[in-house]
Symmetry: C2
Subunit: 754 residues, 2 copies
């Protein structure tokens, strides 16, 4: 793919060397200013609509805002979402491919047509494509194991051969033959079991099933234990016929479905090498640790079966048994070997971020991001998010055309190369760190935005109330019956909040007794908002820059993840046949964006955040009980957290007074309110430490980070928790000091804001 | 089988109507007095043997005892155990069959030959045998499902056709055809999941997998939910190729292995109807509840597969998926039905307990019991116990012949019809309750006594120290490698205690972190002794009569439970190929018996018991937190438990002083010591309440009982726990009062003993 492919309307291209990045900024021909407002920008006002006072708004602005919100709610159309998804998933579009580029153009086109000032930003990223992936099982005969999915009748996409074969990005090339040892999920405790049974994987190839940890950690641990190769497969117990009906009957992984994916160890997101950049020593060392050292490849369960069936040695424990109808053995004997032959093509390849901007007249910037690149068709991951992003672009553009003007700037970001290493988002965040720290008020992320009826948001504690508030406003989507998803009985919900609460409460209670009925779920409990810290493009924004972040998703069963079958046909039959959840997702995201962009006083709840920190601290202190760390100065940091909560409550009272004052005298109090907003927007940054977390300086947020023992999930107080786990008591002390300093700084910042 | 079958040497038969039971007491020709002692009863004394002072013994008697114990340890011979087992398992011997009778004669013969005064006691028990068990799967075709195991090459026993077909004892006869609903394990929470999904089993046949609860409770719950029939099968995930290698490669259940078993609900052990007895109303009502109401039959997984494969309706949740390579569905549609046709032959049948007695010169009686009847060959269940019982009979007989005399009487009991309803043991205990309450000092039980290397005792708290002490004396058996059991590396144990500790510590640690090494097991922790209360012949002795009880077992994987394959070939290849664990079990049991029979002061630890009660109380009080029961008078009962502990400590000090005094002046202090022993022996009885537990008056022990929600496991403070679970706060108050009264009575009893 070369420059010749670029569309002709690109008017200028400039090489900007910033932080050593080669960037091509593609500015489009659309006007930089918002589209002209209709001559008479009439405020919509429906007499029957009597909104409550919206948090962060004056009574008057609240009424105006509610009216715009009501108008927005009516905009998303299933047909439009459907059409976007159809275009985006017409062909496989891995990062750096022409199809990826075409999708960038399509996204940019929709942004522009909706009135957004739009740029396509080009980066060079060091991406591996697989040239050869050849895995052979050698027992009493040789059997080449398939590295591609079988076509499925009725799914015309699955018959297209243009998708990349099954591979693990950032695996080295290599050619190894060795006995196979089955290592269960390849977790540290699995290796402990092997060790206890006297089995070493040194010189062997490990076969690990996907699940319970990030695949990059599986490959890394295999290498740490001396393995010379690593095979990762999807077991039917975890993701296949024992998880639910397999596609096309249901949503779960069929026999030949392969989970592709990166195995880079994400202690530092972004591409491992940057063109023209000589990284500082620590970064080079970090990359050395991050890059896998042994050839690694993924398998479907059908491909792994000949190995699993033939493995000898001792039978593995019951907890290690998977869904194939054989006794799983440890292996490690010469009876079954594997031959892994990988040739990877590493190159600097061009990737494309698309950034659409709608300028506000006040300080502050709301970012909404979603990656666009996919391993194959990416119907769910990530383009169910992209279709929502496009619906948001259209919806806000429509409001703009009707006269609405955002108070703050809104940026829509279509990231590239997330699948490889969150590259597009990280590069953007790194380039714009100072500006983001000055301006950003929130970052809303989408990834697998829509694949079922269950609203499953994640957010920092300061955004939780806003999410509850918005979910109470958005109508509940009708629930569709598919092969996998059945409507929950007794959940006649009017709003997303009610459906979400009902679904949360409907989780089967754990082992009730025979004689007593299962305890009725407490109706008063708020539905769950996940903690957030790792796993998608929000990482650089939350963990590095320090921006209040939420991640939105309507979820369900999803067994075609990273396989060929994550396509439009799957989406229409299993994920969201009528695009109802996509509409709901757009509405939630739209209201979050409107609220955050328009509020006089930013709807970020700092007392909630302080309270959460206290809870996290208490949990760590409990874990530290009966260790030398118990004697450290926990009281000081706990007192600091309590002090922060008091300061936050006091700050909120003063901020709301300022808001009320501004209702009477908007101009007189504008500067006052701006100071409160600046403190609110900067709050997340006060929780960063410039040194970062132990061993991963990129991650500077002391409260949330990816869980390093797992890679996907989120660690709370990650530095402290890590040092405790390592029994590094001096390190625990350091982390307590960092936390104390951050909490004290945050408190001071709140106190001095007037 | 009639009277004509009785062996001719039976010299008298008397009908004794005692408590309405029809009993035939068969007294043997052996002399009632112990066999004559050798002319010069020399005390064995090895100069190199310097024992510590044994608890409950004076220095002199301790030395003598240790010498006898050392001699006993040398007696059990693998060849002898092997020969016993071979005889006992030559053919299937279900309770009431001629083969069962022949085994009773064999056991009695061994007892007699070893010098025990032996009776065969005949009872009539209401036992169902299966006349017809016919289960047919009806989908697009009809398929008769096998009710018998397939022969296995190399296992000549498995080709014998004289074993009973697969059936569930106490199922009613019946002939039903209905759609099948898969209900997972058939637990209350499983029905909650079905209800949540809008699925009723009313009018259907449920298919439940074995595991997690007693099969009788599965059948009962199915009926409670309106099912018209119940099929129980063994899933390969729980007991088959995913638990480990299947027999004959390993110890787990092969494709056609059927788990037979009773489905009577054991709220009242013993036979459901007793000849000539008009039961009191409450008992009749209890039996009505206990007797299953819907036809129920067991299946192998191979037999259940055609149903599971064809089930339609919704796919079941992931936790419900088993080991067959299909998606398990809820079913409940007309696409798959089952036809269950059962004809059961209910009759009063004769069963035979064998009781061997060796009289001691002092008050007190140690009982050792083990059932003898088996569903098929019963190599493990129960005859691995019986071979140990016979080795004990021989060993103690040998010591007797060498001059040893037990201080207290020892009774060896070979129970019959345990498999149906603990009938032989319960009938014995009910007939002898007053005598047992007067004389018994301990009851030691065997059931599946030997099927692997892991010592897994259960005991009341007062017997724990004695078990630890004995386990420290008995040499560790060599560990044998079989298809299923591998030696644990790093467990070079000298004693059973060390091997037991090592195996306990070697349990894989739960989810250690990636960075920190798994915590080393605390070396100081004592290995686990299970609580005891339900599941074998000890129930009437511990829970009804009130005798300090232990249950002994050397355990391992065991997937042929209640199937045709529980035979001598299995035992020799999988359970204990060299009879080493059987030898160890005999040694442990022998030393427990010797110690308990000979101790001057009974080695029962009452402070330990009081401490355990305090812990159990605390656990229940924690569970009661935030309920109306929290406001009840827990302080009073806790104070009573603390008072009991103080009294027990004080009692122990005084009792040991009395023991020391008796060392100097044995005769002067004999009466004194006897009072202490009487209080020790009666301690368990002070924990009974005459009304029994809620809804099951037979179970009178307030501290331990079978877990009614599970049927196998043990409930602690069962009445209190039950009332809490039922949220019956008035009942909780009553149970607290009962406990208070029992603890106060026990305390008083200890205080007044001088």
């Amino acid at each position: 793919m070369g420059i010749a492919n670029l569309r002709t309307h690109i008017c200028r291209a400039a090489w900007i060397a910033l932080a050593g990045l080669l960037v091509i900024s593609l500015r489009a021909q659309t006007p930089a200013s918002p589209p002209p407002a209709p001559a008479a920008a009439q405020l919509p006002a429906t007499p029957s609509f009597t909104p409550n006072l919206l948090r962060g708004f004056t009574p008057q602005s609240s009424t105006v805002e509610a009216a715009w919100e009501e108008r927005f709610l009516a905009l998303p159309q299933p047909a439009s979402l459907r059409q976007s998804l159809q275009v985006l998933t017409a062909q496989p579009h891995m990062a750096g491919t022409p199809a990826d580029r075409a999708n960038a153009e399509y996204v940019a086109g929709v942004f522009r047509a909706s009135g957004w000032s739009t740029r396509i930003v080009r980066y060079l990223a060091w991406l591996p494509y697989p040239h050869l992936v050849r895995v052979t099982a050698i027992s009493n005969h040789r059997q080449l194991l398939p590295n591609y999915e079988a076509p499925i009748t009725g799914d015309r996409f699955s018959a297209m051969s243009s998708a990349v074969i099954g591979f693990n990005a950032y695996s080295p090339s290599g050619d190894v033959t060795a006995p196979v040892v089955y290592v269960n999920y390849g977790l540290p405790e699995d290796y402990a079991v092997l060790k206890q049974d006297g089995i070493s994987v040194r010189g062997d190839i490990v076969l690990a099933r996907y699940g319970k940890s990030y695949r990059g950690i599986k490959a890394q641990l295999a290498a740490v234990h001396g393995a010379v190769g690593c095979l990762l497969y999807s077991d039917p117990n975890d993701d296949g016929f024992h998880a639910g009906l397999a596609y096309p009957q249901g949503a779960w992984r069929p026999a030949s479905g392969i989970q592709r994916g990166s195995i880079l160890n994400n202690n530092y997101p972004g591409a491992p090498l940057k063109p023209g950049q000589a990284p500082p020593a620590w970064e080079a060392a970090a990359w050395k640790a991050a890059l896998p050292t042994i050839p690694t490849a993924p398998l479907s369960w059908q491909a792994a079966a000949p190995i699993l069936e033939a493995l000898a040695g001792r039978p593995a424990p019951q907890a290690w048994q998977g869904g194939l109808p054989v006794t799983y053995h440890f292996g490690g004997t010469l009876q079954v070997q594997a031959h892994i032959h990988l040739v990877m093509s590493y190159k600097y390849r061009t990737i494309w971020d698309v950034i659409g901007t709608m300028r506000g007249r006040h300080a502050g910037e709301v970012l909404i991001g979603n990656h666009r690149d996919a391993w194959t068709f990416g119907a769910v991951d990530p383009n169910s998010g992209t279709m929502v992003l496009l619906a948001l672009a259209r919806g806000l553009g429509h409001l703009y055309a009707q006269g609405w003007r955002p108070r703050r700037t809104i940026k829509l970001c279509s990231w590239d190369a997330e699948e490889f290493a969150l590259i597009g988002s990280t590069d953007y965040a790194e380039r714009h760190t100072p500006g983001l720290r000055r301006n950003a008020v929130a970052y809303f992320n989408l990834d697998e935005g829509d694949y079922g009826p269950n609203f499953t948001p994640g957010a920092v504690p300061s955004l939780r109330r806003l999410i509850y508030s918005v979910a109470r406003t958005v109508p509940a989507p009708p629930v569709t019956t598919t092969g996998s998803v059945f409507p929950l009985s007794g959940c006649a919900a009017q709003t997303v909040f009610q459906a979400w609460s009902c679904a949360s409460a409907a989780q089967p209670a754990a082992a009730p007794s025979m004689t007593a009925p299962a305890a009725a779920p407490a109706a008063s409990t708020l539905p769950r908002i996940n903690v957030i810290g790792g796993g998608s493009d929000f990482e650089p924004f939350l963990d590095h820059v320090g921006i209040a972040t939420a991640d939105l998703s309507f979820s369900g069963p999803y067994g075609v993840y990273h396989s060929l079958y994550d396509d439009f046909h799957y989406f229409q039959t299993e994920a969201d046949p009528h695009f109802d959840y996509g509409v709901a997702c757009t509405r939630v995201l739209g209201l979050l964006t409107l609220r955050m962009a328009d509020a006089r006083l930013l709807p970020l709840d700092l007392p909630d955040y302080a309270q959460a920190i206290m809870n996290y601290l208490q949990a760590e202190q409990t874990r530290a009980a009966n260790t030398p760390a118990a004697s450290l100065n926990w009281a000081r940091v706990t007192a600091a957290a309590e002090g922060l909560e008091r300061a936050a409550v006091n700050f909120t009272t003063r901020a709301e007074a300022a808001l009320n004052a501004s209702a009477a005298h908007p101009h007189a109090n504008a500067a006052n309110l701006a100071r409160f907003n600046q403190t609110l927007a900067g709050f997340e940054q006060t929780l960063l430490h410039h040194r970062g977390l132990p061993g991963r300086p990129f991650y500077k947020n002391l409260i949330f980070a990816p869980n390093i023992t797992n890679g996907y999930s989120t660690a709370r107080l990650p530095g402290l928790a890590q040092r405790l786990r390592e029994k590094n008591w001096a390190g625990v002390s350091v982390q307590l000091r960092y936390l104390y300093q951050a909490l004290e700084n945050a408190t001071t910042r709140l106190k001095i804001t007037r």
